[in-house]
Amino acid sequence: MHHQELIPHLFRTEFRKIAAVLSKLFGVENLELAEDIASETFLSALENWPYKGIPENPVAWLYTVAKNKAKNHLQRNQVFAEKVARQIKYSSPQKEEVEIDLSEKNISDSQLQMLFALCHPSIPTEAQIGLSLRILCGFGIEEIANAFLTNKETINKRLFRAKEKLRTEKVKIVPITIGIISQEEINSRLETVLTTLYLLFNEGYYSESQDTILREDLCAEALRLADLLIGNEQTDQPNVRALFALMCFHSSRFKARKNEKEEMILYQDQDETLWDQELIARGTYHLHRASQGTKISKYHLEATIAYWNTQKADTKEKWESILQLYNRLLQLEYSPVAALNRTYALAKARGKRKAIIEAEKLNLTTNHFYYTLLGELYTEIDNKKAQENFQKAISLAKTQTDKQTIQKKIDILTVT
């Protein structure tokens, strides 16, 4: 990989790790400092690598630079250093000097502890998620804005206010592993923690980014963090297992989703022998364990739908179940995607004519998937209308790949 691609790639995989470790070390009141040092580290890479060449081990290079920058800051700022050192001594009395530990274990621990610290009730949920995505998941401000369907300015303001609040509230980072946080407090924060992991996974799974390795890495990260939650007694709860199962089922299709030319292969055209059976089995196990509680979360419903999607055969039972699951999911939480998928399931379970009536009511007139769905429902019932809808879908589709996929559907229509 050339440095022009490598640096952005490493930024996405390593920024969050460095930021998590440093922010845990410096405390929640110094989030910006942690962010700044992580950013400066990448700036150094941008300044050095084009001239001196890419180092043999780029990640190790970044970690060394980050450590040095952190140590320099501590040396320049004696008061701050003493404060940090006191905290370190408290948790590990054998160490005299501040050690910046970028081992895999400490990265995971830091991410998890920071996740719970940032999901603090003193700031609004949207800010909790926004900060977590920025600092622990390495999202850019624009990506966060996209996730919340708003603009960069709003997000910048929201994150700034949240950091101020965390500072004035003197929020502490406490290791969740040793049971300092009470169970109630964990429960009250867990919901937001799960939303963050869900968004992190979705960004990897659905984003339009062409960087396959990166996307799989984001998903793997979300899976890893969810797995850590399951491994911890206090956070091992049914909805955590359900979310984990959902991620397993989706991830099982990674290999089958793209052809050699990196083009997306739609579900119905995928070679199911490429689906990862081990991940499916893991998901099934955790979904089973998740059904032991009494509360059904949206993750339970989505995971069960995803489970049915690991069965390729078009059985009546499958579509009836999926339809009923979407009926329930939409009652819990509306989303255009769920509305469209529900209508597709309705067509499969109750026939296209019935689904057309329901689809016409959805009114998602700015969504190209909406017209694609209508086109598919009208196919063979009224090919002329099918064509009209596919044409509308093409005019609304944003990427060339999407336009081509829809054009293929028009090409096989026979209109008389």
């Binding site: 339809l323 009923q324 009926n327 939409l330 509306y334 509305a339 209508t343 959805l362 009114n363």
Partner: protein
């Protein structure tokens, strides 16, 4: 956008359906609600099971508790959902799709939810 309660009334709540019939009704009701939810117009809803229902009445200034809503009147409320709608007409259209109406004599009552700001509007 206002909120409306769609109240399902059964002409005779004592009629007992077979488990198979119950299952069909259940699915139809879920499809009906799912269709409204897919338009982002569903607010909340609840079924009101007949089993073990009680009625409290005043008789001679005293509260008297009887079994079930099935006294002199046969008609019972089976449940209700709350929807968002732009107008009463739209709310009525939602109600027309309710599978309860397949039963002869059953009805749907549509009532606007008070805004709870003291205006009764």
């Amino acid at each position: 956008m206002e909120e409306y309660a769609l109240i399902m009334r059964h002409e005779d709540g004592k009629k007992i359906a077979s488990p198979e019939q119950m299952e069909v009704w259940m699915k139809q009701t879920m499809d009906w609600i799912g269709g409204i939810a897919a338009q982002n117009k569903f607010v909340s809803g609840t079924g009101l099971p007949f089993d073990d229902a009680r009625v409290v009445k005043t008789k001679n200034s005293k509260a008297v508790v009887t079994n079930g809503p099935f006294g002199e009147i046969k008609e019972t409320i089976g449940g209700f959902i709350v929807v968002k709608a732009d107008s009463m007409d739209e709310a009525v259209e939602f109600a027309k799709g309710c599978p309860v109406l397949q039963g002869e004599g059953n009805s749907m009552e549509i009532r606007k939810i008070a805004r709870n700001d003291g205006t009764h509007q």
